[in-house]
Symmetry: C2
Subunit: 217 residues, 2 copies
């Protein structure tokens, strides 16, 4: 995984929080979430271990949609609420469409890669996340969308990864079937074409973020 982040990396943000007034009350666990949950005992049905579990823009890193399903299932006996934020696959401006298309393009290649370290290994829309949560006993209580602040660079990064020649090499290496490969290449070509209307990669804005709050059924 690339150690990048803007304006701060994850490590820098955690160090900043630990140094602040809430620092003594925070324990960081850098561990696979499913293994972490499974290693802690499931409490009795009348008690819950956590007030809230938060999945903050992390689902697309999961190895498959099944991982989210298992985490939500494990949380269903361990947390009172689950709050999820994820890229929405929604653009309300022309400048955010390259990010939407680039995420889909990466997913179309990476779904063929069992050892992916891409930022988009599993692509799930808000409605797919709600379905997965619902199957695990969670009810959507509130949801909203917001446009990330100007200068959020994720859109530019994801577009850059698709425009890069490395994307074509990976498509060639990972997708054997000519027709399937042509879909991934068409997605990349759509990303490239989408840049024209926004004046190139520097004109890309990040897509909207979706947030959902879930309570137990």
């Amino acid at each position: 995984m690339e150690i990048t982040g803007s304006p701060f990396t994850l490590g820098q943000a955690q160090a900043h929080l630990s140094a602040g007034p809430l620092g003594p009350r925070i324990t960081w666990k850098q561990v696979d979430p499913l293994l972490f949950l499974q290693s802690s005992p499931s409490p009795s049905p009348t008690e819950t271990q956590y007030d809230v579990a938060i999945l903050a823009i992390c689902i697309w890193y999961f190895a498959s949609p099944g991982v989210l399903a298992q985490i939500l299932e494990a949380l269903s006996t361990r947390a009172k609420r689950v709050c999820i934020a994820e890229w929405s696959l929604t653009a309300s401006t022309l400048s955010a469409y390259p990010h939407v298309l680039a995420a889909l393009a990466q997913a179309a290649v990476e779904c063929h890669n069992p050892t992916s370290v891409s930022n988009v290994r599993t692509i799930l829309s808000p409605s797919a996340i709600v379905s997965s949560a619902s199957a695990a006993g969670w009810t959507l209580k509130n949801e909203r969308m917001f446009q990330p602040a100007k200068g959020t660079l994720d859109g530019m990064w994801e577009v850059g990864a698709v425009v890069d020649e490395g994307y074509l090499k990976e498509a060639q290496r990972l997708i054997q079937d000519e027709k399937e490969r042509s879909v991934a290449i068409a997605l990349r070509d759509a990303v490239v074409a989408s840049l024209e209307a926004v004046g190139g990669t520097k004109g890309v804005d990040s897509m909207s973020v979706w947030c959902g709050e879930f309570v137990r059924d």
Copy 2:
């Protein structure tokens, strides 16, 4: 294949032309283009059979990218020029993005369907078409993009086909792998989300059309 067309079906358009002043000079051949070309002898290198071969918004119906390659190869000894028009995978307005996404979504399912009768069986961008032509000995001489007239309903039709529940059933039936299927479903969800910014399916415009003129190397 659906017998639809707006403002006219293909059959109606052909009948109209045949009834006009050029009618006596027109012969319609409703036949697979590759079989048709292969059934006519390849002329000597110094003569050509046709002044111009036109592929008018037809490539996405081909069974695979290889079919286009074979047709362009067969034409390379039989025509002086090739003119191609195809949907561009480019949107210059928010209202055309649902069409772009819907074409990609259909392709992501139909590439798994060896007996597809969808409007998008093989998806190739303008640059993929230029590459295919180049490999067959054709040089791009001119190209342009244009926005189809308001009221061109293809965008609405393709979006409708993806929003329809039948799309999800086909994805379920044709795509065994959970990760690959989630990409097709994410593409559909992106189509649905894209409709919000344009006020629903009726606000969809068709994407731009690309035209290229090729001459022999």
